[in-house]
């Protein structure tokens, strides 16, 4: 089962394979969109697309791996599952090194393929969630004053209020006020949570 905006993009030169895959996905309520070549897919691709890509590694014209390379160039982060034939394993391994999410070997069992598609979609959602979370944290962080930023950095390093006060030449009381404001603006309730956000912002 997919979320509303998620689509599996099928790129395969073989019409029968394409259509049967789309039919199989439909039987488990996954919506899909098919493309007969790498060119056709790259021409239609939009950055806002969500879901994952099912990409035949061996196609006439632009190969599956070339499609992958060009998608990376376009900052596309949709997970790619390669469909490979018997002799294509070395190619598939190389594709994995270049960031492909997974590959399935033809002929595959339907459950195997569906599991991998679900795994890719889940991975995609997690990445999306992380991206979203980071965006929110960054937004909160941007509301801090320069002084509060300094205090947050020191707190995240585990320094005690007394040490921070000395380092920043402030009264301990003032540090305490700044610290409370940081916790409030970053919407955290514990030091541990604040440290986690600091790490996230560092990434």
């Amino acid at each position: 089962m997919t979320e509303q905006n998620e689509t599996v993009f099928i790129v395969d030169d073989d019409e029968a394979v394409r259509e049967s895959l789309s039919f199989l996905l439909k039987s488990v309520d996954i919506q899909s969109q098919s493309f007969a070549s790498g060119d056709e897919f790259l021409g239609a691709f939009k950055p806002e697309w969500e879901g994952c890509i099912l990409l035949d590694i061996r196609m006439p014209g632009i190969s599956g791996m070339e499609v992958q390379r060009r998608l990376v160039e376009q900052d596309c982060t949709l997970p790619i599952i390669f469909i490979t034939g018997h002799g294509d394993i070395p190619m598939a391994v190389e594709a994995m090194h270049l960031g492909a999410h997974d590959f399935v070997q033809k002929p595959f069992h339907d459950q195997e393929l569906l599991d991998r598609i679900q795994a890719a979609l889940t991975a995609r959602r997690e990445i999306q969630d992380e991206v979203e979370q980071k965006r929110i944290v960054q937004q909160h962080y941007s509301t801090l004053t320069p002084r509060e930023t300094e205090v947050m950095a020191a707190v995240a390093k585990g320094h005690a209020n007394k040490v921070i006060a000395m380092d920043l030449e402030l009264s301990q009381r003032t540090v305490e006020i700044h610290r409370a404001r940081v916790m409030e603006k970053m919407q955290v309730r514990s030091l541990a949570e604040l440290v986690k956000l600091a790490v996230l912002l560092d990434e």
Partner: protein, 400 residues
């Protein structure tokens, strides 16, 4: 052979001459020659000798004739010569002799020819027969000298067998090289069938409101299994056992049948392929399978030659057209590395190859096949890069 061992240096023709002279014992003008020695000479010959009179009755024969035909001296002397021949020669022979005696026109005397002879046990075997004649008092005697050709024939048959075996082996090698591409091509419909079947199962498990969808899936399954079957059928027709099957064949059929195989192979190697074949090409006299083997081999070579090419330079073409009123021409044009002068000299030699994993048999065998069809196989480098291999085959009309 004990007889020849005793007279190792005596050539057959001399012995033959001696026999002729010696058969007339009552003429005083001829040199004396001991009768026992005459018999020894005759018996020493490897060739069988049978002497008959003008009515076809056997008068004498040597040991080799006894060995060859399986009769004893007693059984054979006085018999009609026709007992040594299979039908229809056995019944027609007296007519031949009569004709010759009346007209003086011989069908065989002085020429020698290959024909079949018959042993006592009825078995028939090939011989070479030479016939001489000699005056004998008022009449004529014929001397027949025969050599058993059974071993020669066996040799020829063995050579022919080896030749066809080699062609078959090469065809199987070609198929082996194409196996990966074929497996991929058969996998496609199988994958589609599996997908449709699994999807239908899931739909059925969820209830019966998807009957229309499932009907569509079943129709697809049928189409796709036929597709897989077609590929296998084509492969099978190409690996069927080796029998030379020469006959009038449509050039268009030859090409139509290999087209799908070549397309699969090209696609698997990421090469585009196009066929430019004139419609209504004349018939040729050919072994269809062998000509297809040649063309597939040339196409495979073209594919192999472009392995290093960039995607936009991977194109293979086959043109087939009437070159002269008597000749059909097929050009296989690639965009590969071309043929170096050095390689060109040895291209049709067996075991010469420029491929890393090649056996070097493909072109040598193709060359042999085309030659055995009275055709020609040639090659040239293209001005724009790559090579063109051309097969020229005489049309059926030209063969007449």
């Amino acid at each position: 052979m004990p007889h020849s061992a005793r007279f190792p240096t005596l050539p057959a023709c001399q012995a033959y001459g001696i026999c002729l002279v010696a058969t007339n014992p009552e003429q005083n003008s001829v040199p004396k020659f001991d009768v026992t020695a005459q018999m020894a000479v005759m018996n020493a010959l490897i060739e069988a000798i049978v002497i008959m009179d003008d009515r076809g009755q056997i008068k004498r024969c040597n040991q080799a004739a006894i060995d060859m035909f399986g009769y004893t001296q007693d059984e054979i002397i006085g018999q009609d010569i026709s007992i040594l021949m299979p039908a229809p020669d056995s019944t027609n022979h007296s007519t031949y002799v009569d004709q010759y005696l009346r007209s003086g026109k011989a069908k065989i005397i002085g020429i020698g020819r290959e024909l079949n002879a018959r042993r006592k046990d009825g078995s028939i075997f090939p011989i070479h027969l030479a016939i001489g004649e000699v005056a004998y008092y008022d009449s004529i005697r014929f001397i027949g000298m025969m050599r058993d050709l059974t071993d020669n024939k066996k040799d020829e048959e063995r050579k022919l067998r080896l030749h066809t075996d080699m062609i078959t082996a090469s065809r199987l090698t070609t198929m082996g090289e194409m196996a990966a591409a074929m497996a991929h091509e058969i996998n496609q419909p199988l994958a589609a069938i599996a997908n449709y079947a699994s999807a239908s199962e899931r739909m059925l498990a969820r209830g019966s409101d998807n009957i229309e969808d499932i009907k569509v899936a079943l129709a697809h399954i049928k189409t796709q299994s036929h597709r897989a079957g077609d590929i296998i059928r084509r492969l099978r027709s190409f690996v069927k056992p080796d029998s030379v099957d020469l006959g009038p064949t449509k050039m268009n059929t030859i090409i139509d049948e290999i087209k799908p195989l070549a397309e699969v192979d090209a696609k698997a190697n990421n090469i585009s392929i196009s066929f430019d074949v004139s419609t209504n090409l004349p018939e040729i006299i050919a072994d269809q399978l062998q000509i297809q083997q040649v063309l597939l081999n040339l196409l495979r070579n073209g594919i192999d030659a472009m392995h290093e090419n960039a995607p936009e330079d991977r194109h293979l073409e086959l043109h087939c057209y009437i070159a002269t009123p008597d000749t059909v021409r097929i050009d296989v044009i690639d965009q590969g590395h071309g043929i170096s002068e050095e390689a060109g000299k040895k291209l049709f030699h067996p075991f010469f190859t420029t491929k890393a994993t090649g056996m070097g048999m493909g072109l040598a065998i193709s060359h042999t096949i085309v030659k055995s069809h009275s055709g020609a196989l040639s090659f040239s480098n293209n001005l724009s890069g790559g090579a063109t291999f051309s097969v020229m085959l005489p049309t059926k009309m030209a063969n007449r």
